[in-house]
Symmetry: C2
Subunit: 427 residues, 2 copies
């Protein structure tokens, strides 16, 4: 682990540098798959599933029999855990509902804002070693609260053409309307253009490898929205001597096990705490099943000593962490003044794992410094806000003259006429 | 104008087709300007301002003297109109403020969501014949209500190196913190990378020509967010015999004068109304100063007769208009059931011009069918939502076991450890 003491502000860009991703070399591949799925539909989907997932599927839609089968395979205790997490996530996201905002801005001019659901959304869940069923909870639950009509889930099939039972169980439980056994670029392309099997959607959510990431970027060129741009997951902990070094180390490691490019940073005003955490990390690391991954991430991690809380907070806001754990006596200072962070975890008993699974907050969060301008996934991610206005005869008489003058000053005579005609009809 | 009667659903994609834009040929130009601005900063900005705007500026920052000068040049009555519009826009956007959402999802597990301002935003205002000062109101007013710290405005200088006084007046009035005389691709590049003169921002808002549109798209590859993807402006009116054909025609024309590629559609359950509107459009068109532009747009416009309200609404939702005017007896049906529209204008005395300037709603809206998944600009466009959680000793005991089980099922042992360590410390 790299230890850095009181870094000069001029060095911050280097100190806070994230791993760079180069994606340009795979853009050509992604574009080719998109073009083929667009023109050939399910035939191209089938071909790429065979090529990338080594399986030939007659039917990519998951059947109700497969779901029933999956339900039997998930243990009762995991079902109960999922139910507990689901309840908390539902409570938190349902609380985010907003009422219609209605106001008479001037006499006779009634304006209101309403949020209405995005009718068709697509969720992508990666395959691979770890079945990320928790991400289904994070995406399908708010989509359901938002009342999205179609909630499509794409996830790659395993070698035998099957989906992990926990994924099927969670998808069914959380109201996914259609599950497709298709992964990677071809899944994103399928949801972008629609095929006979895969519905076209308006917005695509969910994590993925670099191919999926580039495919999601490309989808935006074809009129589909995405949840947010992606980057490696990251955690920043600020800790002083009131923190528990063992807990802090466990949090750093839980981030580090995500991937070799994961970002892990400790900021502290205590050199003693930095040394203690370093030692704890070494001890805990050795027994982890994913220690190879975690070790690479930890090697690139940084322990940064700063002189005081003000300096610490300025540096943290400059970084804009995806996950931000606050274990300091003066926690209120950080909570009140953090400007850029995806999700904030406060106190010694609030590990990042809690937000990843079950506290109720969403774990789909802005990485790569995007916390400066992007929200994590929340209820509004599945809705769009629309405005309405209804102007009475009296109302157009109130604001009509201002509109005429402004339209004229902008050289837009027809805009002015639309008001003038109405005002004259009322004379 | 093309008249279409009771189109079959299979023909809707053709009937509702928007003009296609091809931008690929200008991407190379945009990328070159970006690379030069990134490496040379203000020197490249200066060079391109000379090349594209035909003016050599020693200092691109607008001075307080220039603003004072501009204030003198704007007429008193235009100032009063701007003040009236500003008041309505402020009232409506201030009403959109949301409170912190706080909930105890499980015993000892407190979660909350707060919106905090995007610290640095950039506004782009095009130059050209019409000085779009109204767009400054639409962007700078909510940015101010959101409490964004830096509000940078870029707009191209005229031949003499000056900015239209109405633009300077509106920018100063609405709290823009810095005004730069720079336009086009180089302005977007400047705000993306930052130069000695132009601050780097986190999110860029505002309209522009195809070069600006492609530049904004490219900016997203360099970590900057944008308000929304762009397309030609568009209006759809639904009208029955209770509508006023003259008013409807004036609304269609006010949209048509925006540009030759503007989209104008009338949907009606009355053939009589369609004929009346067609005649009115011809009459009103002939006297417009921008009639060449409007005529081209009108030639591509469509008057669509449908058999009933259900068919009309289905078609309208399929299109997802940016502006949607409802002039029918049964207006409640359309207002309650419209799923995809940017802004809705209800009744005979609510012209689109009202929303463009002064009703209080925002005129930066999703075009190109993006109303299906994007919101128009609103207060939240200048903020991002962050989540917080604070879990007590009791709280981690409540949800700890569920987290452990789920983390284990996902194969993430370190995630589990972070909880196990804490639970054990409490035994």
């Amino acid at each position: 682990m790299k230890k850095i003491y009181s870094p000069e502000r001029s060095t911050w860009p280097t100190v806070l540098k994230r791993p760079t991703q180069t994606v340009e070399d795979i853009e050509a591949t992604v574009l080719r798959v998109f073009n083929e799925v667009k023109s050939e539909g399910d035939i191209a989907i089938h071909r790429y599933t065979q090529k990338f997932d080594n399986v030939s599927l007659e039917n990519i839609l998951v059947t109700s029999e497969e779901i029933e089968e999956a339900k039997k395979q998930v243990s009762q205790e995991l079902k109960e855990s999922i139910a507990a997490a689901k309840s908390n996530i539902e409570i938190f996201h349902a609380a985010q509902k907003t009422e219609k905002v209605s106001v008479e801005t001037a006499t006779g001019v009634l304006c209101w804002q309403e949020k209405r659901p995005i009718q068709k959304v697509g969720l992508y869940i990666p395959g691979g070693t770890a079945p990320l069923f928790s991400t289904i909870l994070m995406l399908a639950i708010p989509a359901n609260i938002a009342k999205c009509k179609e909630i499509v889930l794409c996830t790659p099939p395993g070698n035998e053409g099957k989906i992990n039972p926990a994924i099927l169980y969670a998808a069914d439980l959380c109201g996914v309307t259609k599950i497709c056994k298709v992964g990677g670029i071809q899944a994103i392309a399928g949801m972008t253009f629609g095929t006979n099997s895969i519905p076209q959607v308006y917005k695509i959510f969910g994590p993925g490898n670099q191919f999926v990431t580039v495919a999601k970027q490309l989808a935006t060129k074809f009129g589909v929205a995405i949840d947010m741009p992606a980057g490696p997951s990251e955690l920043l902990v600020v800790a002083d001597d009131t923190a528990n070094a063992s807990f802090v180390a466990s949090d750093l490691l839980s981030q580090a096990e995500h991937g070799k490019d994961s970002q892990v940073i400790l900021v502290s005003t205590s050199k003693k705490m930095i040394d203690k955490v370093e030692k704890e990390v070494e001890e805990q690391l050795s027994v982890l099943p994913r220690k190879d991954i975690a070790m690479t991430a930890i090697e690139n991690s940084r322990l940064i000593y700063v002189d005081n809380d003000v300096e610490a907070l300025t540096l943290i806001n400059e970084y804009g962490p995806e996950h931000f754990i606050v274990c300091v006596k003066n926690e209120e200072y950080y909570v009140a003044n953090i400007e850029n962070a995806g999700s904030v975890f406060i106190g010694n008993y609030t590990p990042e794992s809690a937000g990843d699974y079950a506290s109720g907050t969403n774990h789909t969060l802005p990485t790569n410094g995007y916390a400066k301008q992007y929200s994590g996934v929340n209820l509004d991610s599945f809705m769009k806000s629309m405005t309405f206005q209804k102007i009475s005869e009296k109302g157009i008489q109130t604001i009509g003259n201002a509109i005429e003058l402004m339209a004229e000053a902008e050289g837009l005579q027809a805009h002015k006429n639309a008001v003038t005609l109405r005002l004259e009809s009322l004379k």
